[in-house]
């Protein structure tokens, strides 16, 4: 007997979330007695909201959205970290005179307010010592973000590297990316999240879902090409788009690059560093949340209870992963 | 003249045998461009079964008076009763014919005739039969499936007449029902109406511009004066019923005709 569960992604299915389809396709859910339905999301904040409201049982949501949702009173728990850097950053054209953060002064920067990195621009600006008084921020829709950069309507855009860089590459537009994590402004990327209630009621279920997802990610890390092939089968519209496969490959590569971290390598994939997330909560509370938000307790918001052997890779395997993502590491600088 | 023309009391109080009474009825239309006094004072009472014609110059308030009797326009002051009850709103007991035919453009002639029935209860085969009979009477049976826009002006008016009669109403209110008809058809329709009236004795108010028609059809004739309009004359028509078209040759007919004509003429002209 299988149990039906619903899982939401933060945004449309793409290379960075394709491992969820791998897990489904490879029967990682089924063998744990689960029948999973994977849904696309409408942004991390909305995804956190929908999980918090119980519309979905589980979600794969960026840490920023989870912390913000919890700060706004949503009963969320993050059970596993699968991406260790949200790749927040600044994207400029390759021929742009902007070479360092300082060069941004006096420029026009495009920003999507609902995008995960947007709230932390001031944090980056402060850490990087940028004088923001002369900078004009242009709010825009995510659909026009990269276009406006290509057309020189703005000098730079704030972006999530894993989603904007593949677009630029697919468009054959040479670009440069500045990671904010280099300046110390860093958030975890995707985490497996559920409601506190679900966690309290059904630990086994939470374990099963986390394991299945981690197993899927491990599979993709070991064999990225197979991952993409499965993805194309599971989500046929990717194959319909012209650059779909290439885009998925790049996006997956960038995502895999963010998996490389001391947490994952030393403990296991899925492991959350509690001191790091405490800092992230502070960051979110300072920059990403409204004044009246309540600071969530990192100890209850995040848990490592479900991190197990599934996420452990041998050093050999890690070496192979590193080799695979080398080219993407270069892209992100 | 006093031997042939019996002047009825213009303001007898409402009594049970009076089908329609009007007491000191006045109507002022309030319009953006100022108030218009359409009827200054009208008092009359019509006995059950009487056929009463109203004559009067154009714009003197005949249509307004009829709308008030029908309960379709509130009187500004004064009181109207129908069958002894005050008129507050329309009564289905009255069959009504407006000055315009007012047909529904999307209904066939037959459906238009059946309109009053269909609005109050399901249409029965009996109603349909009656409607067809009425259409034969107004000589439009062949046009029963046509739409109003395919009819001539006179034909439309005849549809409206048939519609007013469909419910076999006890009271008939007709506003210039024959104005668009040629002399012959007009006479035919007049005769048909007289026949109906002779057999069923409906109470009828009949607005017309034809003095001859008024004399031929009516028991009584009210003449309205020009604005500010009142009822200036209330004459009983002395001819016995049923009447044949030949009464036109009667000298009394002509006398009455000339009297009425003079009486309308006497009405002061619009300033």
């Amino acid at each position: 007997q299988t149990r039906a569960i619903k899982l939401t992604l933060p945004w449309l299915a793409n290379g960075s979330t394709l491992f969820t389809y791998v897990a489904k396709n490879q029967g990682f859910f089924k063998k744990r007695g689960l029948e999973v339905t994977i849904s696309r999301g409408f942004g991390s904040v909305a995804a956190a909201q929908t999980v918090g409201a119980g519309e979905f049982d589980f979600g794969f949501v960026f840490a920023g959205g989870i912390i913000l949702g919890a700060a706004r009173g949503l009963p969320l728990v993050a059970m596993g970290t699968l991406g260790y850097d949200a790749t927040m950053g600044i994207l400029v054209r390759a021929d742009s005179p902007i070479k360092t953060a300082k060069d941004l002064e006096g420029k026009k920067i495009g920003i999507v307010p609902t995008s995960a990195e947007a709230p932390y621009w001031p944090a980056f600006a402060r850490k990087a010592g940028i004088d923001t008084s002369g900078i004009s921020m242009v709010q825009m829709d995510n659909r026009v973000l990269e276009q406006s950069l290509i057309n020189n309507q703005v000098d730079a855009i704030t972006a999530i590297g894993t989603s904007s860089v593949p677009v630029m590459m697919a468009l054959k537009q040479p670009s440069r990316f500045m990671l904010w994590s280099k300046a110390g402004v860093s958030l975890y990327a995707g985490q497996v999240v559920t409601r506190a209630e679900t966690l309290a009621k059904d630990k086994a279920l939470c374990q099963a879902v986390t394991d299945a997802l981690v197993e899927g990610l491990v599979f993709a890390l070991k064999d990225p090409e197979a991952g993409v092939d499965i993805f194309l089968k599971e989500v046929p519209e990717v194959g319909v788009t012209k650059g779909g496969k290439e885009n998925a490959t790049i996006s997956q590569g960038l995502m895999h690059y963010t998996v490389l971290s001391p947490e994952a390598e030393q403990r296991a994939i899925g492991f959350t560093d509690m001191t790091k997330v405490a800092g992230m909560v502070d960051l979110v509370m300072e920059y990403g949340a409204p004044k009246d938000a309540k600071r969530p307790d990192p100890a209850t918001l995040f848990t490592n209870d479900f991190v197990g052997d599934v996420g452990k890779l041998t050093p050999d395997q890690w070496a192979k992963v590193k080799a695979n993502v080398a080219e993407y590491a270069a892209i992100l600088g | 003249m006093s031997t042939t023309l019996a002047t009825a009391s213009a303001s007898s109080p409402a009594e049970p045998f009076n089908a329609i009474t009007a007491r000191a009825v006045r109507k002022v239309y309030a319009t953006p461009s100022g108030a218009v006094e359409a009827v200054a004072e009208a008092s009359f009472s019509i006995a059950r079964g009487d056929f009463v014609s109203i004559l009067g110059p154009s714009g003197c308030g005949k249509s307004t008076l009829m709308l008030m009797v029908a309960g379709l326009e509130p009187a500004t002051s004064g009181a109207i009763t129908l069958d002894g009850l005050p008129v507050n709103g329309p009564r289905t007991s009255a069959g009504m014919m407006f000055q315009d035919p007012t047909l529904l453009p999307w209904r066939s002639v037959l459906e238009n005739v059946l309109f009053p029935v269909s609005m109050c209860r399901p249409v029965m085969p009996d109603d349909r039969a009656r409607a067809e009979q009425l259409l034969r009477m107004v000589d439009l049976w062949h046009f029963r499936e046509r739409r109003p826009r395919e009819l001539s002006g006179g034909m439309r008016q005849r549809v409206a007449l048939a519609r007013a009669l469909i419910n076999d109403p006890r009271i008939l209110l007709m506003d210039e029902p024959f104005s668009a008809l040629d002399a012959i058809t007009r006479d035919e329709m007049g005769l048909a109406l007289a026949r109906i009236w002779d057999t069923t004795r409906k109470t009828a108010i009949f607005i017309t511009h034809s003095i001859r028609e008024a004399i031929f059809l009516s028991d009584r004739i009210l003449v309205m004066g020009r604005r500010p309009s009142t009822i200036v004359e209330d004459i009983r028509v002395p001819f016995a019923r049923p009447r044949a078209p030949e009464i036109e040759a009667d000298p009394a007919f002509n006398e009455l005709y000339l009297h009425l004509k003079a009486s309308i003429h006497r009405a002061p002209p619009l300033q």
Partner: protein, 275 residues
């Protein structure tokens, strides 16, 4: 055959002489299709030329030929996506029609309802529903009902306003006739006000059908995993303009067909109820 080019024009030219009837008739029947297609073709040709001459990159504006090629390649897949979109549009439109007309009737029939409801309906209409997208997902889920609701929310208002105008601008003489024959309530609506309001109502429905489709598309942007709207979004996420355009073209063709159905229904209704 729906004559799309004459939305509700009663002014047809006099028929040609009997002799010329055959040929001219055929030409007259082709014209309403040929002419708009020709115009569209001209626009498209101009667009193609501009794109080619000015070397506009595909990511900014794909050439019509590129769109056509893409459409042709992906047609089977897009047609499959079109099914849910079309069904949801029809559902949204049907509900909007019923809801819009009911509200309009309610609001004309009762002074109380009018005063209590109408400003709130306008207020509701003004809410930019797309701003509440997360709430939509939370309250209505991610299934068809969510998108149909979205479609209804965006398309019912034109029906309300148009029907309302129709019901209240009925010839007063006809309403007086109704009162004279003692007609009241429902009958006056079905037999007189509605028929008289038919041109207005269809004007509302023609607007509503287009918005119903747009509503479904936007709903698909927010919640769907299939459908043409989803495809557009998906293509946008990869900046694949040609595919976006191909989806839009298919969408518009379907929308035009639905619009044509409304026009056909209008022609029938006007034949029955037109003055």
């Amino acid at each position: 055959m729906p004559d799309l080019t004459t939305p509700s024009s009663p002014a047809a030219p006099p028929p040609p002489g009997l002799a010329a009837r055959g040929l001219a008739g055929a030409r007259a029947r082709i014209r309403p299709f040929a002419l708009p297609i020709l115009t569209a073709a001209l626009i498209i040709a101009a667009w193609e030329v501009v794109v080619r001459v000015r070397h506009i990159p595909e990511v900014l504006l794909p050439a019509p030929s590129a769109v056509a090629a893409r459409l042709w390649e992906t047609l089977p897949f897009l047609l499959q996506q079109a099914v849910p979109t079309t069904l949801e549009t029809v559902a949204g439109f049907a509900i909007s029609t019923v809801l819009g007309i009911s509200l309009a009737v309610l609001v004309t029939a009762s002074r109380f309802a009018r005063e209590a409801l109408y400003p709130n309906i306008v207020f509701f209409q003004l809410i930019p529903k797309i701003a509440l997208a997360p709430l939509f997902i939370v309250w209505l889920g991610i299934g068809s009902p969510s998108r149909v609701t979205f479609s209804v929310f965006i398309s019912f208002f034109p029906v309300v306003v148009a029907t309302l105008t129709g019901l209240t601008s009925v010839d007063r003489d006809l309403l007086r006739l109704c009162r004279a024959v003692g007609a009241r309530g429902w009958k006056v609506y079905t037999q007189v006000r509605f028929p008289a309001a038919v041109p207005h109502i269809f004007s509302g429905l023609k607007i509503a059908i287009t918005f119903a489709m747009i509503g479904v598309i936007v709903g698909e942007f927010i919640t769907a995993q299939a459908g043409l709207g989803y495809m557009i979004l998906f293509a946008a996420s990869q900046a694949e303009m040609a595919l976006i355009f191909a989806s839009i073209v298919l969408l518009c063709v379907i929308g035009l067909a639905l619009y044509a159905l409304v026009v056909v229904a209008e022609a029938f209704a006007l034949k029955r109820y037109g003055a």
